[in-house]
């Protein structure tokens, strides 16, 4: 198996964190999990860059997406630095690498559009809301600085997908929009399962250490999907409301 070992890089950052003994363990688990998830998403952006190249995207855009992979690795190090500051080790089982779907049933433009919808318009837009709320609840200090840095990059990652959709409206004919709608139902189901699995209600809560209230985070997740993502996708001509309603059957 692979072990993700960010100890050396993480210790070089050393943010000053004062841990409450009552919630320290929960904070350790949370930040170690974030370290794994963030670092583990770098291959997603590298594969997205390759798919964008295959779809004929401009070189500057492809390079920007490759840089996003670097940002995700840097986020892993930042989260690892919090683990170390809490007295833990920035060491954990790495996520198993999975290939990005190629969506061979459609052309390369539509294939990469599906993946941009899932990664940027769904996952990263939800991340902007979750991290943004956590940052606002956290007192000023080194930990909030970490969140500010990560949030700033996540905004760019989310915008990649929204910008792609806006720029390619003329290529989204009716059959493509219908097919993307069917894909959205699958992507919404996947997103919901992923978020609910990771946002657990009932555990310790400590906004000072980034240990969020799982129930509140779940509520924010649903609000983001239902009041931000779905209406915007609908406005861009994709049948998102229908897809969200049909996600359970997808």
């Amino acid at each position: 198996m692979k072990i993700l070992d960010l100890r050396v890089a993480a210790r070089a950052i050393a943010p000053e964190v004062v841990a409450d003994p009552a919630t320290r363990e929960a904070a350790l688990h949370t930040w170690r999990g974030r370290m794994v998830n963030e670092h583990g998403s770098a291959p997603v952006f590298l594969a997205l860059a390759d798919q964008l190249a295959d779809a004929g995207a401009p070189a500057a855009q492809i390079e920007a997406v490759r840089a996003m992979a670097d940002e995700e690795r840097a986020h892993g190090v930042l989260c690892g630095s919090v683990v170390e500051a809490l007295g833990g080790e920035a060491l954990a089982p790495a996520l198993p690498e999975e290939p990005l779907p190629v969506h061979a049933d459609v052309d390369r433009f539509e294939a990469v559009t599906r993946n941009l919808l899932s990664v940027c318009c769904l996952s990263e837009t939800v991340a902007v809301a979750l991290i943004g709320a956590e940052r606002l609840e956290m007192p000023a200090g080194p930990l909030q600085d970490v969140l500010t840095r990560i949030l700033a990059d996540e905004v760019g990652h989310a915008r990649l997908g929204w910008k792609w959709l806006a720029e390619h409206q003329d290529r989204l004919d009716a059959p493509r929009r219908a097919r993307l709608g069917r894909y959205l139902a699958v992507a919404f189901a996947h997103l919901e399962a992923h978020e609910l699995a990771q946002l657990k209600p009932g555990g310790p809560v400590d906004p000072r250490l980034g240990v969020c209230d799982g129930a509140a985070a779940r509520a924010l997740f649903y609000a983001t999907v239902e009041t931000v993502i779905v209406p915007r996708l609908d406005a861009l001509g994709l049948p998102a409301r229908q897809a969200w309603a049909e996600r359970a059957a997808a």
Binding site: D5, I13, V119, A133, V155, V186, Q198, L199, L220, R232
Partner: protein
């Protein structure tokens, strides 16, 4: 700040990232349902834009926010320059060794136990997962 306030402001920030100036021009067909005071808008925008220039930032900007972004806003701690090149993922043997651990596989849980992993820890939903495939 109350949790409700924080969530409302975070939602507005998420809403703003969905709007870009592309071929749409000024198609504000999903107006912000909860307009915010100007100073709140500026604070949120500073947070959302800190250190996140777009490749074509000259052409792209949020439609909702006119507030100037403070270019001196601290974008958070820097990652050491050698962090990206460090051998951060290494092959290692944990538990019975040589096992490829997959999420959901009992062996993966055993490996995680070896490093005190806690599957029940919450609030970790960061980092986009690999998108799903569309099964026929």
């Amino acid at each position: 700040m109350t949790r409700a306030d924080a969530q409302a402001r975070a939602l507005r920030a998420a809403s703003r990232v969905t709007f870009t100036l592309g071929l749409f021009g000024c198609a504000e067909d999903v107006p912000d349902p909860t307009p915010e005071p100007a100073e709140e808008a500026q604070a949120d925008e500073q947070a959302a834009d800190a250190g996140a220039p777009e490749a074509d930032a000259g052409e792209q900007r949020d439609l909702f926010v006119d507030a100037a972004v403070d270019p001196t806003l601290d974008a958070g701690p820097a990652v050491p320059p050698d962090a990206e090149t460090a051998p951060v993922v290494a092959d290692a043997e944990v538990g019975d060794g040589g096992v490829v651990c997959e999420i959901g596989d009992p062996e993966y849980a055993a490996c995680c136990d070896a490093v005190n992993w806690d599957f029940d820890a919450g609030c970790m939903a960061w980092g986009p997962p690999v998108p799903p495939a569309l099964l026929a």
